[in-house]
């Protein structure tokens, strides 16, 4: 009889709530009880609220048990979980959990499904089929497919990816680079991390396709140092892929050379800005560069460089394999395809939800998220990280669409959605936006470097109730200056959350009752 497969995710969120301890407890208990199991460390499906989510393969199905703690393991064995036995934590088959069933998994279809580091599992789920197809149809057709798919940069700027690909492809130069931005610093976002931990070969394949299409022989992954487990998994995946001939010289006899170097960031938010990232990759302070020149023409070490976020790249293998039309069939207007939304903060069912554009914030927060974790009413939602606006509860019917968000003075960014309940003090969040900018500003331009510190001071005076009207005008003026005169989005967009608080939550600036402010 084949050994029973037991899946325990090896992914940061799952491990942060005890998945490693659960894996150890299961291994120990199975040994003691003489049951023959095979422990598989998969990625996470993204239902973080159910982690640690343990699955047992029973026939064709994988039966899920949620929020498993090491102390539950003996009881699970007693309940016969190796044959799918009944237990208070049993969720039924994993592919029937509504949170997962109701998604449209394009980029994340392998996450949770496979053992992340198994090249065999990866190959068995169409792994490298996109790269093989790319070799077959040629670089120009690949770049065209990316353009036709309507894919836009998922890092935040939402620039059409295909235009970048064609620009780098057509750029003069014998040495070109792929630079993968894995400096996922926005609060409320973790999709890059989940992809790299759950499907690392998927990213490697994507970068190889990009290299092939634009004529680059070298790729870099710039990974933030706050992701140590991701670093371990990616390092291992790169070594395995290299050994198996999927990286390096003459990949699979195609004549195409491509390799990837993994670089660790060192705790700087602004290094997620593409030019600061390039500076950091060159070993320097992460100071933003002026544009032009565009990185596509003069990027890393002055060479044409295709810079993309992890999720943008990872969307490509399926576009090449299944066709641009399939991808463009998702979404609406100019927001084509799917986005991996991330439900975070004060939300009952936090995690990753990959859906076509067009879904509303309310559907995400209520239908998927189940409302707040505290059970209190939603007060505000910050979409798009620390530079994104706070959206009031009345506007939750806003569709997730790049243009609709811009019209509402907000941005989708990297798709992070942070929920706050009615106890949140939004003046404090506006202050934090300025404070964060002051801490993380690279210091190159004055509006960002100095403006953020002045912003904190003005907000402090407003909260203290000093000359409220005057300080209000001053803050608006400061926001105008930062927005129009900063070199990059750090200073240029810090006013977004601040302005949204002024607009929708001005009452939070009032001194608190009892005179404690």
């Amino acid at each position: 009889m084949a050994r029973t497969k037991v899946y325990v995710p090896r992914e940061t969120a799952a491990c942060s709530v005890g998945a490693d301890d659960v894996a150890v407890a299961i291994a120990r208990a199975s040994k003691e009880r003489g049951s023959d199991i095979q422990l598989v460390r998969n990625g996470s499906w993204g239902a973080s609220w159910l982690e640690p989510l343990v699955e047992v393969e029973v026939g064709e199905q994988r039966i899920a048990y949620a929020n498993v703690e090491p102390g539950d393991v003996a009881g699970l064995f007693d309940a016969g979980f190796l044959t799918g036995g009944e237990h208070a934590k049993r969720q039924g088959p994993v592919n029937e959990i509504p949170y997962l069933v109701n998604q449209e998994r394009w980029t994340f279809f392998r996450c949770g499904l496979i053992e992340a580091l198994s090249l065999e599992h990866f190959r068995a789920t169409s792994g490298f089929a996109g790269l093989e197809k790319a070799f077959e149809i040629g670089g120009e057709a690949v770049a065209q497919a990316v353009l036709d798919s309507g894919l836009r940069g998922r890092g935040g700027a939402a620039f059409p990816a295909g235009i970048k690909w064609q620009t780098v492809r057509n750029a003069e130069g014998t040495q070109k680079y792929i630079a993968c931005n894995a400096d996922e610093g926005d609060s409320g976002t973790f999709s890059d991390r989940m992809l790299m931990e759950g499907d690392p070969y998927g990213l490697i394949e994507a970068m190889a396709i990009a290299g092939f299409a634009v004529g680059a022989s070298k790729g870099y992954i710039y990974l933030r140092s706050e992701y140590p487990l991701t670093h371990k998994i990616l390092s291992k995946a790169l070594a395995v892929a290299r050994d198996a001939g999927w990286l390096g010289h003459d990949i699979q006899g195609s004549g195409f050379d491509f390799d990837i170097e993994l670089h660790l960031g060192a705790g700087s938010y602004v290094c997620g800005e593409e030019t600061a990232m390039l500076e950091s990759l060159e070993g320097r302070r992460g100071i933003v560069r002026s544009k032009p020149p565009l990185p596509a023409l003069s990027g890393l070490f002055g060479k044409p460089t295709l810079v993309h976020n992890v999720v943008t790249l990872a969307s490509v293998p399926n576009i090449v394999r299944l066709g641009a039309e399939r991808y463009a069939g998702f979404g609406e207007g100019r927001s084509k395809g799917t986005l991996a939304f991330q439900l975070a903060g004060n939300v009952k069912r936090g995690g990753l939800v990959e859906k076509a554009f067009g879904i509303t914030l309310r559907q995400l927060i209520e239908d998927f998220g189940g409302g707040t974790a505290s059970g209190r009413p939603v007060k505000a939602v910050q979409v798009g990280g620390p530079l994104g606006a706070y959206i009031p509860a009345e506007q939750l019917d806003l569709p997730m669409d790049y243009e609709a968000f811009i019209k509402a003075g907000a941005m989708i960014g990297h798709g992070g959605i942070v929920v706050f309940d009615d106890l949140a003090n939004m003046a404090r969040m506006a202050r934090f936006a300025m404070e964060f900018c002051a801490i993380e500003s690279c210091g190159k331009c004055t509006p960002c470097r100095i403006g953020s510190t002045r912003g904190v001071e003005v907000i402090d005076r407003m909260i203290a109730g000093e000359n409220r009207d005057e300080n209000y005008d001053l803050l608006v003026d400061l926001c105008d200056t930062m927005e129009s005169a900063s070199l990059c989005a750090m200073g240029g967009m810090t006013p977004y959350p601040v302005r949204s608080v002024l607009k929708y939550f001005a009452e939070d600036f009032a001194p608190r009752q009892g005179g404690d402010a």
Binding site: S48, P228, A266, G267, G283, R285, G286, G345, V347, V418
Partner: protein
Amino acid sequence: MSNGHGNGYDADITASIVSRFDARPEQLIQILHGVVERFGYVPEAAIRQLAEALNLSRADVHGVVSYYHDFLTGKPGRHRVKICQAEACQAMGSHELTAHATGSLGMALHETKDDITLEPVYCLGNCACSPAVMIGDRVYGRVTAERFDELIGGLEGND
């Protein structure tokens, strides 16, 4: 946790880290990570040595060291305890958790006491399991005040 405590600075170790990266100046940040892994921080002597080995000015190396939060120039405690202060964790009570931590440990953020250095961090990417804490290279989620005390207690027990 391998913040090589009790060892003094060893120039040979730094030299071997440099050679692992072929003394390429663009690898400075990776090399500094290696130094921090071994010594827990970037000693002044390492800055001089790296400048020479990589053919950079001391100002260049110092500039990089001072720019990035990861590169401390003073010796931290054996355990670097980081509490996330970013928005998603704030929405789940990270202010209160931080107040609990500073109160129970009797130290402010950025301070070192006994074996512990307490630091703020801005997003650990664990935002669906907020609030989050990182100790060494391990991330913990859904950290309550009680859980925090357990984690700290566990550290002391492991000394």
